[in-house]
């Protein structure tokens, strides 16, 4: 059924009894052409584009828990493409262009809201870094502009630009096309779209092993619901990628950290955009429901525990209350954590692995949500053709062997 105001009206008149299931709850078939491990946004998008653009519809997406329940449903939904490296610019801009038409593409309102993402500079080092981004993005045709403190406050009136602040706002890089989207809707929209094209989404199905033929190529996965054969396997398991890949004997250059986020109680609109401060670890926007959505930094130590430390929450709130003094009397409603997988160069890994038939899409660190459509799109192409999509080509696993890194962490290198 096509979603529209018309169908909503029609259903309203008939008591909403006609809405069909948004996706099926199928039993796993004995085998699939492609098995995707992980039904987060990236995995579901991969399945959708495999079916939609490559005609590969005999696809299963296996999920240990419930679809969209990992980092897709836990992140602060910031979307932007003003990255530094040309490879990253291409990847995230590809995603941004897909975001712009995604609701109509999926016939599911993912509430992509390009309200502007503003990144604050608090010292001369930050200024230099962000200006470098602005110059690089201008050359690449990606919008990103430099604002002085008064202009930054003009864009976000509750921002404190008092020069006596401990970490004063010296300026900001603004991407106006950046914004947020409704994370659950992204997972659900892709799930519904993929399901409609014949993809089996199998929830509550934990992968416990990867079976390989004597010649080395993959033949399927062992799961909590039995063996499922697979011509190709795409691992899209975020924080648990290392665990899954180890089942095929592949050691991944990943570290997993808890990352926390929290929301305030809902208030009437007060925050018109997204503000990020990498220097003091504070990220804030306001959801359509009215909650202030706040991202914190990662814990200092690797862990698979989804419980982060109170001190991390506190540090974030300290920064938020300094930057946005009107929030000091508001209250934290809910906090949670997710596990992010971080590569040495802070860029993702998308593509083939040393094991024939095994593909991986991981290493998105703290910023994977924004890439969801682009990631799925290029990974699907890579899986379908067994050769990297041109945009994915630089993001190989073997760049950690050759040294051809795509270092977005460069921007964070601070020294004097």
């Amino acid at each position: 059924m096509k979603f529209s105001f018309g169908t909503l009206l029609k259903e309203a008149l008939s008591g909403h009894r006609g809405w069909p299931r948004q996706w099926r709850e199928p039993e796993p078939k004995p085998a699939y052409d492609v098995v995707i491990v992980g039904a987060g946004g990236h995995g579901l998008a991969t399945a959708y584009y495999l079916a939609k653009e490559h005609g590969i519809r005999n696809v299963a997406v296996l999920e240990k828990g419930w679809l969209g329940g990992g980092n897709t449903g836990r992140n602060t939904t910031i979307i932007r493409s003003n990255y530094l490296c040309e490879e990253s610019e291409a990847l995230y801009e590809h995603a941004m262009k897909l975001w712009e038409g995604l609701a109509i593409e999926l016939n599911y309102n993912v509430m992509y809201s390009p309200r502007g993402v503003m990144m604050l500079a608090h010292n001369e080092h930050d200024v230099r870094i962000f200006k470098r981004h602005v110059h690089a993005n201008r050359l690449a045709g990606i919008d990103n502009e430099w604002l002085d403190p008064a202009e930054a406050k003009g864009f976000c009136p509750i921002l404190n630009i008092d020069s006596r602040l401990r970490h004063p706002v010296l300026g900001a890089a603004l991407q106006r096309r950046g914004g947020v989207a409704r994370h659950d809707a992204v997972a659900w929209g892709y799930a519904r779209g993929a399901d409609a094209l014949g993809v089996d989404i199998i929830q509550g199905c934990e992968v416990t092993g990867i079976r390989r033929a004597p010649s080395g190529e993959v033949t399927g996965v062992e799961t909590s619901r039995g063996f499922i054969g697979a011509g190709k396997i795409g691992v899209v398991a975020a924080g648990h990628t290392s665990v899954i890949m180890a089942m095929a004997g592949v050691r991944m250059p990943l570290e997993s950290f808890p990352l926390q986020a929290l929301v305030s109680e809902p208030v009437k609109p007060v925050m018109p955009c997204v503000v990020m401060s990498n220097t003091i670890h504070a990220y804030m926007s306001q959801s359509d429901k009215g909650e202030l959505v706040i991202g914190a930094g990662t814990d200092a130590y690797v862990s698979y525990s989804q419980t982060g430390g109170l001190h991390v929450t506190r540090h974030t709130i300290e920064a938020i209350a300094e930057l946005f003094p009107v929030t000091r009397r508001l209250r934290m409603l809910r906090s949670w954590g997710g596990i992010v997988d971080v590569t040495p160069d802070r860029s993702p890994i998308i593509g083939r692995t040393p094991v024939p038939g095994l593909y991986v899409n991981c290493g998105w660190g703290t910023g994977g949500f924004k890439a969801t459509p682009g990631s799925g799109h290029v990974f699907a192409a890579t899986l379908a053709r067994d050769e990297p999509h041109p945009i994915a080509a630089p993001f190989t696993l073997d760049r950690f062997v050759t040294g051809r890194l795509i270092d977005e962490a460069a921007a964070a290198a601070v020294s004097h």
């Binding site: 008149l13 909403h16 609701a103 208030v267 209250r331 949670w336 040294g403």
Partner: protein, 1011 residues
Amino acid sequence: MIEDDKGPGGNRFRTASGGRIDRSQPVRFTFDGRAYQGYAGDTLASALLANGVHLVGRSFKYHRPRGIVAAGPEEPNALVTVRRDWRRTTPNLRATEVEIHDGLDAVSQNRFPSLRFDFGALNDRLSPLFPAGFYYKTFMGPERFGRGASGAWARIYEPVIRRMAGLGRAPVDGDTDSYASRHAHCDVLVVGAGPAGLAAALAAAEGGARVMLADEQAEAGGSLLGAPDVMIGGEPAADWREGALARLMSFETVTVLTRTTVFGAYPDHLFGLVERLTDHLPDQGRGVPRERLWQVRARHVVLATGALERPLVFPGNDRPGVMLAGAAATYLHRYGVLVGTRSVVVTTTDSGYRIAADLAEHGVRIEAIADLRGRAGEAAEAAARAAGIPIHGGVSVLGTGGRLRVSSIRLALRDGRRERLEADSVLMSGGRSPTLHLFSQLRGRLVWDARHHAFLAQDPLGGVSLAGAATGLVEAPVDDAFESGTAAGVQALAALGMSGVGTVALGASMQSLPPADSVVPVAPVARHLEAASFIDFQNDVTAKDLRLAAQEGFRSIEHIKRYTTTGMATDQGKTSNVNALSHVSGVLGRPVGDIGHTTFRAPYTPVTFGALAAECRGTLFDPVRLTPIDPAARERGAIFEAVGPWQRARYFPKPGETMHQAVARECLAVRTSVGVFDASTLGKIEVVGPDAATFLDRMYVNAIASLPVGRSRYAILLNEAGFVIDDGIVSRLSDVRFHVTTTTTGAARVLAHMEDYLQTEFPELRCWLTSVTEQWAVVAVQGPRARAVLAPLVEDVDLAPDVLVHMAQTEGRVLGVPARVFRVSFTGELGYEINVPAGYGRAVWSALLSAAERVGGTAYGTEAMHVLRAEKGYIIVGQDSDGTLTPRDLGLPVGERKADFVGKRSLSRSDMLVTDRPQLVGLETEDGRVVLEEGAQITRDSAPAVGTHAVGHVTSAYHSAVLGRSIALAVIEGGRAHLGETFHVPMPSGVIRVKVVSPAFYDPKGGRLHG
């Protein structure tokens, strides 16, 4: 103004006596601008109910009129904004938790123009259009509006929806209240000071444990506060409570915190508590903290957190005046308030009967008990009959009447007859759910218990005991709660290896849980009535919404929660979660236990940001590090810049000078005379031990093992990937002792990096690392006259150029102060860095500066330092290198002759050897007056189109006074092969032509260093 003791609004629903309010202390407050009177001890909710006010809010989505439902933190509806002044306005407070004080100014929220008449209620009329998840299905087009920012969602629908959503308003300016924080340790943290918690705290304290007892309410006592007739161990509860508290207070080892919520459990038994200090008082003015955050590390925790009563799901269950039966009892006994005069009790529990009888005894006319179950317990039924209350068993509720307050209820009786009863209040008794939020946060597992129709704690959890209603003893006699508390206290002692005073025998009731109070699952609502049957009141989630979600294939309870928003309101589903699960269970035909529950997350109730930040605001947000020389630089009028945690003097302007002029003057002074610079912020690590040389040799690219005593070496630190992450000077003080410097902001990172290797990779090396950054103040004296300035001031230091050569080091005295003197230079001039104990730094800097000024020298700051080093082509790690460059890229030694060091292997990876790697070069603009912008991109193309590949970028750019032109450093792919060639820097205002040159602009042979 107040004519009689009942005051305006009448307090018509106040009982003649009873309750814990102080009737001798009337309190005046306003709600929505109207004046009311209550008494000391009232909450805003109890005071409003005493005045007959039930309508206090509007729901989030449909703007339906809503009343007070509960008497505690689970309240879903009664959200208000409390205003002290325009900066100190707090939205979304629960009226059931707001204690009234004279002058309290509370207003309702989410309504326009008024609570009684709200335009938003139009949504209620349109509610068939707004089922669960409606917004995912529409508001996407029309497509002709375009995409992204110009699309219909961003331009039209979203702004409207955002204005409709939200609850209260944020204050318009910063909060002027202050907040405090404390850290504490204890043996036993007891959460909840009801009978079980008090008993647990007493037992633990008697056994010698350090105990903290925290309760969210204004006074300890929990359920005892609203149960005056209850006896504990043969003693009236009120007396027992007084006695227990007095006994607890007599221990020095016990801390009792009221108005304190234990909001979160964090790893390793760290608990977050927030104590509310002044909101219940008239304005205290500045200086008294509003709230205090406690971070408590407890060896053992006793969760005596009680249980929360559940509403019942029936059509019209959200009308003002429909509330929890237990809350009605609390209002009666604790606050002396009758929530109505004619009530119908709708129940699925026997306690509903007891409450009905209790209310009847206090003058409420109970029109009927409507039991949704087939039959009740005999004792309960007998008590109700004795009170003359009509009882209807096996009924279902067809609906309620009334607009802004319930006025009637319609029942379908067991025999098929329908009955309409007039009532000004409908009381729901749906059983109670143990409060296990903290247990769940501690990773305790919850299992569904069908007998109790509730989730109970499954396994014992290390370091955790449960007591009282939290264990599932939800309707048990208070003696059982007391016993269970005592047992938990004794259990805590045992777990801690402490013994209790005597042993506490478990009563029979503790051997096994008592038979459940025949709670039945929520009676199913007829399907056509689901749309009017609310489950999550605040978020307007109905039984029909849950069915729709299930119909659309949302099966996981987490999906259903997110799709319908049930349990996502500011009460986080305290009253709604179990009802939602029960309903979903019915719809899917699966047991509740199979569906599972959503995850409990901190905080238990919302926590003020201000309290979480506590004193970490303003200058204490992130304490500034200042060098010992800082006050002297300030006296000199220095302008500072932030560098990592430090404030560093950037330049020292003379009166009337611009930054540009001051920096030019400082640079020229260093080149022609002498400059004095505070280098104290550089990280300093003392590396000591027989294997210190071996260790440093493995860490740095450069040869350290061969470094003679008394000499220094510039050294580069790589990460495993082979990229430069820091640099500094390594000096050998003796065979076994090194003084190592790092960059200012790299200090902590480098020490951690080294410790990591020492402890995990090279544990066999006998070598120790100590940060001495704070111990030494460092004054750099740089320039051709440096030796002349220094010579008269040193003792036991031979400054002769052939003795203390460039990159040599010695110890002696400077100005009578013990000093380490390093002959090093970051300016390209003859230079010394004088390290003296930090306490002497200011005096030594001032004396050296005075000596320098006598020969035309000056103080210089970080900006001049940056220019001077750039003139020499010296890099700043983090500016000219960004973590992606190898030493080879930067034109630095690559340690080819060394067997190994951290990062060496990576330097031979294929991509490290290609010829087009970025390389450090110098740039000269064609027009020497033009200073490039740092971060600007570099292209070969003279008119680069969008998408042109950038071959590099500008890393440093300055005006050089000594060269009389601008200079810049840059990294360019294969740059060293392009010396003399022209490249282009595209800027918004046009393309700047630049020539690639060697990065050493000044004195490239380095003769001046050796002067």
